[in-house]
């Protein structure tokens, strides 16, 4: 047999992979062939040294102190999650709905009733004058109302005059 075959059989023998008959035949062959026996012992030595070296370093593997990795597969209880999700969705819908109803009142300001003097009718101004005449704030209020009403009436007139002047100017220019 070739050396390669002898070495393969020697490794198989060392690994315990030869059956009884094959093992017996191999040993018989080696006993009659010193050269083959030398080759077999050589590779067997490497096999044993490798095994010993690896086991020397990995001997701590059996000295495991950690608890066995007994993984407890936790089942998720979805019921509380679903309850919370439903509550959040319900609250969101209610909030949005309420928000839509109150959307126009965004500023949340106090409603203050202030007289809009620009839109006051002549009758209202007359009423105010009548109301405040002779009171503590009478003079101030009368001055304020008069001033406002004057501007209220004058402003449109001034605009109209300007417009009419402009139109007149255009007409004259056109005729020229």
């Amino acid at each position: 047999m070739k050396r390669d075959m002898i070495e393969r059989l020697a490794i198989d023998s060392a690994s315990g992979e030869l059956n009884e008959d094959a093992e017996a035949l191999f040993q018989f062959y080696l006993s009659g062939n010193p050269q083959a026996k030398q080759w077999a012992e050589d590779v067997r030595s490497v096999y044993d040294q490798t095994e010993a070296a690896i086991q020397t370093k990995t001997i701590l593997a059996g000295d495991q102190k950690a608890a066995p990795p007994m993984i407890r597969v936790k089942r998720v209880n979805w019921l509380p999650v679903a309850r919370w999700a439903a509550a959040i969705i319900f609250g969101t819908i209610i909030g949005l709905t309420a928000g839509r109803w109150k959307a126009t009142d965004k500023t949340n300001k106090m409603a203050v009733q202030e007289p809009d003097l620009n839109q006051m009718s002549v009758e209202t101004i007359a009423d105010l004058k009548e109301k405040y005449v002779g009171t503590f704030w009478g003079d101030k209020m009368l001055a304020f109302v008069d001033n406002t009403s004057r501007h209220q009436h004058e402003a449109p007139l001034r605009d109209i005059r300007s417009w009419d002047t402009y139109r007149q100017y255009i007409k004259e220019k056109h005729h020229e």
Partner: protein
């Protein structure tokens, strides 16, 4: 579920040491070896019911261990983590003042120098103690391939030792 739990615990007791040893051969430090072993057993537990019975449970487990080892190193590579051999302190604890320390380390150097296919077979044979058939199942290769890889690996180790002896 209780039956599976008991079976798995017994299986773990039987195999944990060898799985750790197999993982250690790849990373050469125990924290990482334990990390890989835990990943391996998690996968094994998830796939417990999928065992087809074509080979032994141990061969099946070491098939998972092999894939776990590959995935673990890929993940570490993606994360940019370099795995260093940090085993010397532990090694010193095991064999204090042992004159064979150099010799052992020399053989480990030789095993590190093997290609992945050969070193897988060496690890599964010597650290995990699997038979040829179990190694073949774990690596998904024929038994003849296992024999060839083991033979070539040992020849290379012998060559490495011979060179070292020659230099010494």
């Amino acid at each position: 579920m209780g039956n599976v739990k008991r079976e798995f615990q017994e299986f773990w007791t039987l195999t944990a040491g060898r799985v750790r040893a197999y993982m250690f051969c790849a990373c050469e430090n125990w924290p990482d070896a334990d990390d890989m072993a835990q990943d391996c057993y998690l996968r094994a537990l998830r796939a417990w019911g999928q065992f087809d019975g074509k080979a032994s449970r141990q061969a099946w487990l070491f098939g998972i261990a092999r894939r776990t080892r590959i995935d673990w190193f890929r993940r570490k590579k993606r994360e940019g983590i370099v795995i260093r051999s940090e085993n010397m302190d532990e090694f010193d604890e095991v064999v204090p003042d042992d004159p064979n320390v150099d010799h052992v380390e020399r053989i480990w150097d030789a095993v590190r120098g093997l290609n992945a296919e050969q070193s897988q077979v060496i690890h599964l044979r010597f650290a995990a103690g699997l038979s040829y058939a179990q190694i073949a199942h774990a690596l998904e290769v024929p038994v003849g391939t296992v024999r060839s890889r083991l033979h070539r690996g040992l020849k290379q180790i012998r060559q490495h030792i011979g060179e070292w002896d020659h230099e010494a």
